[in-house]
């Protein structure tokens, strides 16, 4: 259902307004919270003012709990949402530099924009400095690249790190936030009792609600792929069963030779089968790699993904899994490799259809030549005798991608 994920296009009025609107609300909240004032922001680090900590962690906890609910309720497949990948050197060194920049300059990039917008000159100079800093990073990129790419852990979240369920981690995050608030408040009371505010009723209610919310998430079981598929509309169920995404050999071959389409063939068969034979430029895909592929392929215009599996049933299974991960332009080779090999079996010197090997088409191969065979991508027209309706219709990708990249 979600995300709606419109393409940000300045010429498309609704998405333009949405992106501008989100930014405006962001700016309005930051300014109203006092984040256009560098003294207030810096006050965090002298224990005079805890607004930075409170606003930031309250926002993170609120959004994290709501995302957890949306995922558990099946409104949203969390795997399709942008999750900043983990780069260790980036996080440590970049974060360290920004901490220094915060004390020296008194802002972070977002808050400096708000300061600039309200005509604060320190904000203006900070923004100019930030532009220079970004410019110099771009210019010195080649020298920094080795360090910058150190410690690449990919898409990694706290549930994976601690090997626990989302509600457990969320409850931990809530308690961590509350503990940090309490600790900071104790220190503030010690050194700056004059600026110390007793907890507002609002704060007490909010903090209590966080704990209750996190506990309530334990009651909802996080829905898996089966649940997802059940929730899909009947039309999609029928389309898949009627073979609307099953591509025949002739169309597959034509697409392989079509430069207007960015075709990626994913081979889901076991490694031994893949080594014996696979289609030209096919990539072997294991279940654990699906998430990473979906992330890479989502939003790439012209990308068509063709799944090659042992048989129709496992192809459909993989198709459903990829659909859940938000991948569009998704098809599978009808009936696995059987029709393909049968149609051009005679062209391959070492291929013969063995008796009793009907279930595993590749068992006819004598040598593990992979795709170094002509029949991995035969000449155009090879499959013209086979009649399959054309299936591939290129659709524009939905998601643009994410992050600060």
């Amino acid at each position: 259902m979600f995300p709606i994920a419109p393409e940000a296009h300045a010429s498309d009025l609704p998405s333009l307004l949405l992106m501008l609107g989100i930014g405006m609300a962001f700016g309005f909240i930051l300014e109203s919270a006092g984040f256009g004032d560098s003294r207030k922001l810096a006050g965090q680090f002298y224990f005079r003012d805890l607004a930075v900590l409170r606003v930031m962690f309250t926002a993170i906890v609120t959004a994290a709990l709501l995302l957890g609910l949306a995922g558990a309720a099946g409104w949203l497949v969390l795997e399709t949402i942008w999750l900043p990948p983990t780069w260790l050197a980036s996080a440590l060194i970049g974060g360290g530099l920004m901490g220094v920049g915060f004390i020296v300059g008194g802002f972070c990039p977002g808050t400096s924009l708000v300061a600039l917008a309200t005509l604060k000159l320190d904000g203006l100079f900070f923004v100019l400095g930030a532009l220079v800093g970004m410019f110099s990073f771009g210019e010195s990129f080649r020298k920094l690249e080795a360090l910058w790419t150190l410690g690449d852990y990919g898409r990694q979240d706290l549930t994976q790190l601690f090997d626990s369920s989302r509600p457990v981690v969320l409850l931990g995050v809530v308690f961590l936030a509350l503990a940090l608030f309490a600790l900071a408040a104790v220190i503030q009371r010690q050194f700056h009792s004059r600026t110390f505010n007793r907890a507002s009723k609002m704060r007490a209610v909010a903090h209590g609600a966080f704990v209750v919310f996190a506990l309530a998430l334990f009651l909802i079981e996080e829905p898996g792929p089966v649940y997802y598929w059940r929730k899909q509309p009947d039309t999609l169920h029928r389309a898949l069963e009627n073979g609307a995404f099953a591509v025949g050999p002739a169309e597959a071959l034509r697409t392989m030779r079509d430069n207007r389409m960015d075709l990626q063939i994913l081979d889901l068969r076991p490694e031994s089968s893949f080594n014996l034979f696979h289609l030209r430029d096919a990539r072997r895909m294991v279940p654990t790699g699906m998430q990473a592929y979906a992330e890479e392929a989502r939003g790439q215009s012209g990308r068509v993904t063709l799944l090659v599996a042992e048989d129709e049933a496992s192809a459909r299974q993989a198709w459903k899994a990829f659909h859940r991960l938000g991948l569009g332009n998704l098809y599978y080779l009808a009936d696995g490799l059987q029709p393909w090999l049968e149609a051009c079996g005679g062209d391959a010197a070492d291929y013969q259809v063995l008796e009793g090997a009907q279930d595993r088409a590749d068992q006819g191969f004598q040598q593990a030549l992979g795709s170094r065979r002509t029949i991995s991508r035969p000449l155009p027209g090879t499959f013209d005798r086979l009649s399959w309706p054309d299936r591939i219709q290129l659709k524009k990708p939905k998601v643009v991608g994410g992050g600060c990249g």
Binding site: P84, G105, D122, A130, L131, M202, G402, G403
Partner: protein
């Protein structure tokens, strides 16, 4: 002089209320667009647009900047969001009567000194944000809410560095 107070009598929103609203906005951004909030990437695209006027080939040869420069600057959500932040910030400033030319600074710092430090801090922050692959908005807030490991490491890295330096650089923000 009781200059220790951070707010010069300004009345700002209760941090809890601001945090709740920001969390709702962040969640809304996620379910509407599939990604969270961001700022630094938008700023970088703006400076690249300016640089592109003088050295179009140069940015396209750089493997880091080329993907950002390849598409129309204003087609990217981060750029639109940065413009939105400026408008929204100004709107709040007008409504709350905070729209005036001034320089917010520590009690011991002159105006020009503050500008210099703001600029220097901005350079560090801009460079650091690109090195970190995101800033407080895009990485800490958005990644933190999605429970990204990298985002949480980043967050603590920022806070630890800032707290460590706060005392030695106390002259910038306090009376000591």
């Amino acid at each position: 002089m009781k200059h220790d107070l951070p707010q010069g009598g300004e009345r700002y929103w209760n941090p809890t209320v601001a945090g709740l609203l920001l969390g709702l906005l962040l969640f809304g951004a996620f379910i509407l667009t599939g990604h969270g909030l961001g700022a630094s990437g938008g700023l970088h695209r703006l400076i690249l647009m300016a640089q592109g006027l003088f050295q179009p080939d140069h940015i396209l040869q750089n493997p880091y900047t080329a993907p950002m420069a390849a598409s129309n600057t204003f087609d990217h959500w981060l750029v639109l969001q940065v413009i939105g932040v400026l408008i929204g910030g100004a709107l709040s400033g007008v409504l709350h009567g905070r729209m005036r030319v001034e320089t917010r600074r520590g009690p011991l710092l002159g105006k020009k000194q503050r500008w210099l430090f703001a600029f220097a801090g901005g350079v560090l922050m801009g460079f650091g944000a690109r090195f970190a692959r995101g800033c407080t908005s895009g990485l800490a807030l958005s990644g933190g809410a999605m429970l990204s490991v990298g985002a949480w490491i980043f967050m603590f890295s920022v806070f630890i560095a800032a707290y460590t330096l706060a005392r030695p650089l106390g002259r910038l923000w306090t009376q000591e």
